[in-house]
Amino acid sequence: MAVPCAIVGSGNIGTDLMFKLLRSDVLDLRAVIGIDPDSEGLRMARERGLVGTPEGVDWLFGDDAGDIAIVFEATSAWVHRQNAPRYEEAGIRAIDLTPAKLGPAVVPTVNLDEHLDAPNVNMITCGGQATTPIVAAVRSVTDVPYAEIVSTVASKSAGPGTRQNIDEFTKTTSSCLVEVGGADHGKAIMILNPAEPPILMRNTVFCALPEGYDPDAVTDAILAMEKAVAAYVPGYHLTSPPVFDEGPFATPGGPAAARVITLIEVEGAADYFPPYAGNLDIMTAAATKVGEAVARHLMEVPA
């Protein structure tokens, strides 16, 4: 049994997501919805036997759509704000890959099961998906008065949406480090690197540590989390064991005795994007994971 679903947005993200959803046992991808009749994404959807319609989101509420229960939004924050109330009214669950952040933030390895009944969940940002798990892992064994992340992506993998909304990226990611990661204070930094050939996505997570922390417990928690994320993002890995630096450090969360630095590289699965675009891969992989959890939940709970 599988839950019928659709993707709204036939651009890069929507197309990469399509490949992942087609492999799912619990999600029955039926349609990719776009607005451009010449869209490459719609053509690829039709080639795979899906509906690939350029009619826009209205199609979803017409007679041809059938009983689609989950929609993945891969448009823009602005478009999602227009669409979200219509999904909710129609009883369709929304998994939002835009930075609109109308619903709670979900990171699969941290709070996958907390928002299974929410009408709308948000996938935050690629940087948030890559780094929040590490903050949560450290937080599971010690207080984290302050967490800071630096997310560097290849220029080629950052589209116009990200570029024109770079403040939204850093602010949304910072708040996720606190709300989902469990740090007391958070800061996110985003860098674009134009090197050729394009660099793999890099993320560095700094967690402030209080007096009396247990370095072995922190290391074990981080390494376990690396495995947990790699289970659905195979190219997610640390470039070295966690690095501990003794302080003191005067952080925005107060004085910290030490810090632990986690250096992460994310190689994409190359479903549709090239391998360097680990930032896009981790978003679509996380959305698939969340979609599957919601689907299982819908199948368990009678409507």
Partner: protein
């Protein structure tokens, strides 16, 4: 006589790197008082990595930059106070706060190929009624024609001036001249140059830019700044006077500020040691210097090797975290080499 270019002194911003972002309110007041009295028209004050730069990655500020900014605004009688902001590090709210405190010039910096991330911030600066300056960092990494395309974007967003920024101090005189000349030929707005001294060419490159008609030039008093330092303001002004360029600034007063106020903050400023030279030679972002030294010490590796590897990896400004990555890798390689000898 009126000046042929506008001088911006960045001692209290770029110089912040050299002091690991530990400027105090009293130091800021003393520097602003001296520069203002000497006639320096624009003084930049921010964390070295711009507004919001206080962090693990770049170093935490000793004093909140808004307090430093307020002190500078209070002290300056004639000079405009400028701030730097790197989109991706600082956010619009930081610029709004800086404007509220009294900053009137917003310098918005991006890597030389990524000007489109500055659109919102340049737009905001103009909305706030500030002067907006586009700052194309690491300009040595892209050819003049490509740099021009990025500069045109910043101009189209509303920039009043676009700077050729030699963040790595890696430009030869010809590199600087060609970039400034290309921008001057094709932009309506003003053009500026921000030079670093890792190859001992900061003053020479600034003079070459002046020959091409550059409108704005940056310096830091004594050269206090990232890497081996910036174009030393007092040397620039003296050299300009001897070259026949009016600066509008009193050279002897600047020499006094340099010797009496800024030099004591870091007496070794001006020395181009091996690490400083490596930055210019490998084309690496100047503010990596002290971070690379600390990482070298922590991991028992050679700081010059770290800088050369960063150059090979084509890291850009802001990627200080890669210093740790490289240091850890060099440490591991050294351990492996040692193990294989046993």
């Amino acid at each position: 006589m009126s000046a042929v270019f506008r001088l911006t002194d960045s001692t209290l911003r770029d110089g912040s790197h050299a002091l690991s972002h530990q400027f105090t309110v009293d130091q800021v007041r003393a520097v602003v008082r001296g520069l203002d009295a000497a006639g320096v028209p624009v003084i930049e004050v921010s964390h070295g990595d711009g507004l919001g730069g206080s962090s693990f990655n770049y170093g935490f500020s000793g004093t909140d930059e808004m307090h430093l900014l307020a002190a500078a605004v209070d002290e300056a009688e004639h000079a405009k106070i400028a701030v730097l902001l790197l989109p991706g590090i600082g956010i619009k709210e930081d610029l709004i706060r800086a404007h509220a405190v009294g900053a009137t010039v917003a310098r918005i910096a991006t890597h030389c190929t990524e000007a489109d991330i500055s659109q919102q911030h340049i737009g905001l600066a103009k909305e706030l009624g500030m002067e907006a300056v586009g700052f194309l960092m690491m300009s040595h990494m892209t050819p003049p024609e490509a740099l021009l395309e990025e500069a045109k974007k910043m101009e189209s967003y509303g920039a009043d001036c676009v700077y050729v920024v030699d963040s790595a101090g890696a430009m030869t005189i010809d590199d600087a001249r060609r970039r400034v000349a290309t921008l001057k030929d094709h932009l309506e707005c003003q053009v500026g140059i921000h030079a670093h001294n890792n190859l001992s060419l900061a003053v020479a490159n600034s003079l070459a830019a002046l020959e091409e008609g550059v409108d704005q030039v940056d310096g830091c008093t004594t050269g206090l700044g990232a890497g081996a330092g910036n174009c030393p303001t007092e040397v620039l002004v003296a050299a300009c006077e001897r070259s026949g360029y009016q600066t509008g600034v009193e050279p002897m007063s600047l020499v006094d500020v340099a010797d009496d106020v800024v030099r004591p903050l870091k007496p070794t400023q001006g020395v181009i040691d091996g690490d400083g030279l490596m930055l210019g030679y490998a084309g690496v972002y100047g503010s990596f210097l002290l971070h690379a030294r600390r990482a070298a010490e922590r991991h028992g590796v050679d700081s010059k090797e770290i800088l050369l590897e960063l150059g090979r990896r084509q890291v850009v400004g802001g990627q200080e975290d890669m210093i740790i990555d490289v240091a850890v890798e060099l440490e591991r390689r050294a351990a492996e080499a040692q193990a294989s000898q046993l």
